[in-house]
Amino acid sequence: MDWVNAVVQGVMLGGLYALLACGLSLTFGVMRIINLAHGDIAILGAYLVWTVVDHTAMSPFLAALLALPVMLVLGYALQILLLERSLRAGPLVPLLTTFGLAIVIQNLLLQVFSPDVQSLGGNAGVITTASWQITDQLSIPGLGVLILAVAIVTLGVLQLFLSRTRLGREMRATAQDPDMAGLVGINARDVYARATAIAVATAGLAGLFLAIRSTFDPSSGPTQLIFAFEAVVIGGFGSLWGTLVGGIVLGVAQAIGEQINPQYSILAGHLVILVVLATGRGSLLVARGARA
């Protein structure tokens, strides 16, 4: 039963990873930018919510409703002011830019919020402690279900947005051929900025749940980036539902690793990614890289 429990916990943890990863996947899918600051942007989102909660004592979920529009604006500005210029200098420059941005965000957070570890768990109310007791050894935590549900809804809405709406269609067209997109009347600059805005907002949403589920501090970002990155690679670049599967695989691997020995949690996740890279998907990625 412990193993069933581990898998259940892993699936829910996977929801968080998928939420964290979908923005990374979108940024890569639309603009071919690997945003190394994605994890730190999630932590920035967490601090934004924490600040609102700290000042107003409102529920973190309500605070997130205020913080997410701010994240959208930040994302739009990030693209116009920073990433767009870097993209013009070649495909590798955005990688360096976002690496630098990650360092800047971490140090700004350290400067403003001190290195203290924070959590929103205590402010989120009954959801953090609620659970369904299935048997003696198996209980399903309410928060885990909520995170998984939010992840599925977010990915579903994103998928519908990309396949059904005009802006989503323009985003796919621009991703496939930005030069041609301009020639049919699409403002690629605006499309890119909107994609980044969405990616940053989903990172903020992931930051919110990360902050409620456990703790965070100014240096938490890079670890979250690694998890998000692993989820995207396992699930396949550019596929949103793949990202969900990737997140869940990673979450389950970590939970099972932890069940064997608490020290093995992170290691188990890394081992899965190594296996994935060494087998089919790895060679697929290499082939794709060679074509591009």
């Binding site: 269609r169 323009e170 796919r172 067209a173 041609m180 301009g182 020639l183 049919v184 009347g185 403002n187």
Partner: protein
């Protein structure tokens, strides 16, 4: 007043100067063919007019407005559409989605998905199919249809017959003739001289980035165009270059 005026336009690819001091003008409703050897600068000229390539010098005047500094996506709104060399459909989008990318953001007008499918009946059954799965001729029809969706006042066509079977080229040109009869203004690049002379009222011949010959299609002979095409007249008369 002319619909499009190009004034001493220079365009470069790095150190290579692809278009040199080109000036030309198009009247509303006119069909002009641009001929010339590979590398003569035809595609670059078309891409510069459409806004996909920044000119190094010169001006572009469209319907009285200076559009030299206006980006491509806003030129579409003014009424310029390019059907690029190699079709360049969005491969992962369906035929309908490809058409819709250009609809609505362009000039308001008559063209809708349904009208394009009427004009190109071969596309009707392929509506929900991904563009990557289409044959060359189907892709070309979809690419022209996509350009029409923005209701252009000026249609730029780059080598629409390239890589297509002759019978498919016939049907593409039949649909072009329909557009011309309806008063479209067209600047097309065509390698096949007979086709160019058949469809266009005026011929421009480019050589090494310059327009070396210009005239009404019925007044120019094949020989004169061929001579200009390969630069033979220049060899005979060095003073003219």
């Amino acid at each position: 007043m002319s619909l499009l005026a190009v004034e001493s336009l220079d365009a470069r690819h790095g150190l290579l100067q692809a278009v040199r001091e080109v000036s030309l003008s198009l009247q509303e409703g006119e069909t002009v063919a641009l001929v010339g050897a590979n590398g003569a600068g035809k595609t670059t000229l078309l891409r510069t007019i459409a806004g996909a390539h920044r000119p190094a010098a010169g001006r572009l005047i469209f319907d009285g407005t200076d559009i030299t500094a206006i980006p491509a996506h806003r030129r579409v709104r003014l009424g310029i559409a390019l059907v690029p060399e190699g079709r360049r459909l969005f491969p992962g989008l369906t035929v309908e989605e490809n058409l819709l990318t250009a609809g609505g953001r362009g000039r308001p007008g008559l063209w809708t998905v349904n009208r394009v499918l009427e004009a190109f009946p071969l596309l009707a059954p392929l509506r929900q199919q991904r563009a990557a799965t289409l044959s060359g001729g189907q892709q070309q029809a979809a690419a022209i249809g996509r350009a029409l969706m923005s209701n252009p006042r000026l249609l730029l066509l780059d080598e629409v017959s390239l890589g297509l079977a002759p019978i498919v080229v016939d049907s593409v040109y039949a649909s072009l003739r329909l557009l011309i009869e309806n008063g479209a203004t067209i600047l097309l690049v065509e390698q096949d001289l007979a086709r160019a002379m058949g469809v266009a009222a005026r011929i421009l011949c480019m050589l090494e980035g310059r327009i070396v010959l210009e005239g009404a299609a019925r007044e120019l002979t094949r020989e004169r165009i061929t001579a200009a095409y390969f630069g033979l007249s220049r060899a005979a008369d060095p003073a003219s270059s």
